[in-house]
Amino acid sequence: MSFEWPWQYNFPPFFTLQPNVNTRQKQLTAWCSLALSYCRHQKLYTLDVMEAQESPVFNNKKIQRKLSTDTIQVIFEELRKKGNLEWIDKNKTRCLIMWRRPEEWGKIIYQWVSKNGMTNSVFTLYELSNGDDTENEEFHGLEDWMLLRSLQALQLERKAEIITLDDSKGVKFF
């Protein structure tokens, strides 16, 4: 399924950070949702700022416009404030993209677990993310760090508990 670009993507001013505050707000909101939906579509969980500048999201070759690194940083900062992004390193070159927040993932996983009547059973993390049973689920292929955070979120809600198995981690659902 190819990615559907929003109308703003082909609007040249979209790639210039607007000085007018109201316009800028709307622009940034649009950018945030575009970035997140693109990452969701491509199943990207991490982004490198340098690479991002060349990625089709921030660089529309058809209208020959691309975002400057400064503007990308502004957008990333917005995402971070909303909780959808986390910097891996201090220099802000790589980041984790959470187009779904851990709590949301937790909810989805728990729904699947309870729907299949698998509460009170134990799973390894690998089973959840790469098992045959979960192949059609959205969280299939979820990267470990993200999975772990989602389960931690569930743990806080007392819906799960993370346990350490021999050489890997597992989780028990309640």
Partner: protein, 382 residues
């Protein structure tokens, strides 16, 4: 060493010191002189040496005696030296430390270094040969050679000398003239300080000044150009002159403003008005002050200052909303516009058209596209 003569060590008129170096010993050829270590001085005319212990012992030699010189690098235990080859001494030379010498060269031994700079300066002086066209008056003037030494206006050297003198005269005149000006400026500063202090005293109503005199003094201040100190900041104040000027401007500018679409940059107004006046031109400051009074005088013009600092005069009837709405229409019609295209479309100056587009952007009607191609404005679809 027999080229040296005893000297008082004083520099003559027109002779200037170029460089001096202490810790120098003089050698007559290869032999160490009976002189000790001393200070070597180079002037525009002579090479002088003074004993560092006995300051009265001073000898000098004209630079014209020097044929050439060369540097001799130092070694371990040996200081660097300059070897100076000399012309034979003139027969009428005055007495010096040595009557005769079997060498026609001397050595300058730099015990405390400094030979590099010294030799550089020496070579400069030898190239410039300033002693040839700068006559020195010698107080002990017995020999005829010094008479001949007085340069006459012959040849290129004479011309150069005359030019130099003329330049010096001019220099002197200019600095004398400006001397008065700087004195005047100082006095003016004092006057301004004085009037300011009195003005502030009036403001505080301190001092023994009666009401009558206060008013009189205020009018003096006004005529001198210092506005009423109490109400200086308020809008209605200003000198009589500015008020009259504002009224005059109100009449002159109506027609051009209509023509230009109701708005003109202040620089254009300035050019227009001064061209019309011909004589008695306005200063920019007067123009701005007069324009600031438009509103107070209920004239149909307004001075307006944009965010970017650009100042314009516009008709009061000129409505900004209309302008922006029409700007939006224009941009939507063309899809997008740069300020140059907009200017061409409306017949405005580029400066004013940019201001209008920026204003429309500020109000949220337009958005900008900044790229290598330039700055374009689009209708704000966000």
């Amino acid at each position: 060493m027999d080229r040296f003569v005893w000297s008082s060590g004083l520099l003559e008129i027109n002779e200037t010191l170029v460089i001096q170096q202490r810790g120098v010993r003089l050698y007559d050829g290869e032999e160490k002189g009976k002189m000790d270590v001393g200070i070597l001085l180079l002037s525009t005319h002579r090479l002088l040496w003074r004993d560092h212990k006995n300051h009265d012992c001073c000898i000098a030699m004209p630079l014209s005696q020097i044929v050439l010189f060369e540097e001799q690098a130092g070694g371990i235990g040996k200081s660097a030296k300059i070897v100076v080859h000399l012309h034979p001494a003139p027969s009428n030379k005055e007495p010096g430390p040595y009557q005769t010498s079997k060498y026609s060269y001397i050595k300058l031994s730099f015990k405390e270094h400094g030979q590099i700079e010294f030799s550089r300066r020496l070579s400069e002086e030898m190239t410039q040969r300033r002693w040839e066209h700068m006559p020195v008056s010698q107080p002990i003037n017995t020999s005829t050679t010094s008479q001949a030494g007085r340069t006459r206006a012959v040849g290129i050297v004479g011309i150069e000398r005359k030019l130099e003198e003329k330049r010096k005269e001019m220099d002197k005149n200019i600095s004398e003239a400006f001397e008065d000006l700087s004195k005047l400026m100082e006095k003016a500063k004092e006057m301004v300080e004085l009037s300011r202090s009195i003005a502030s005293k009036i403001k505080d109503k301190q001092g023994d000044i009666t009401e009558d005199e206060t008013i009189r003094f205020k009018s003096y201040l006004l005529s001198m150009g210092i506005a009423n100190p109490v109400t200086r900041e308020t809008h209605g104040s200003g000198t009589h002159y500015h008020m009259q000027l504002a009224k005059q401007l109100g009449e002159i500018l109506l027609a051009p403003l209509e023509e230009q679409g109701g708005m003109m940059a202040l620089t254009e107004v300035y050019c227009l008005v001064n061209r019309a006046r011909g004589m008695e031109l306005l200063s920019p400051e007067d123009l701005v002050n007069a324009c600031k009074m438009f509103e107070a005088l209920k004239l149909p013009l307004r001075l307006r200052i944009f965010d970017s600092g650009v100042m314009v005069i516009q008709l009061q009837s000129h409505s900004e909303e209309e302008m922006i709405a029409s700007a939006l229409d224009n941009v939507s019609e063309k899809g997008s516009l740069t300020s140059e295209e907009f200017a061409k479309l409306l017949g405005l100056s580029v400066l004013l058209s940019k201001e209008r587009l920026l204003l429309a952007e500020k109000m949220g009607h337009l958005c900008r596209d900044d790229s290598v191609e330039g700055l374009r404005f689009y209708p704000n679809l966000f």
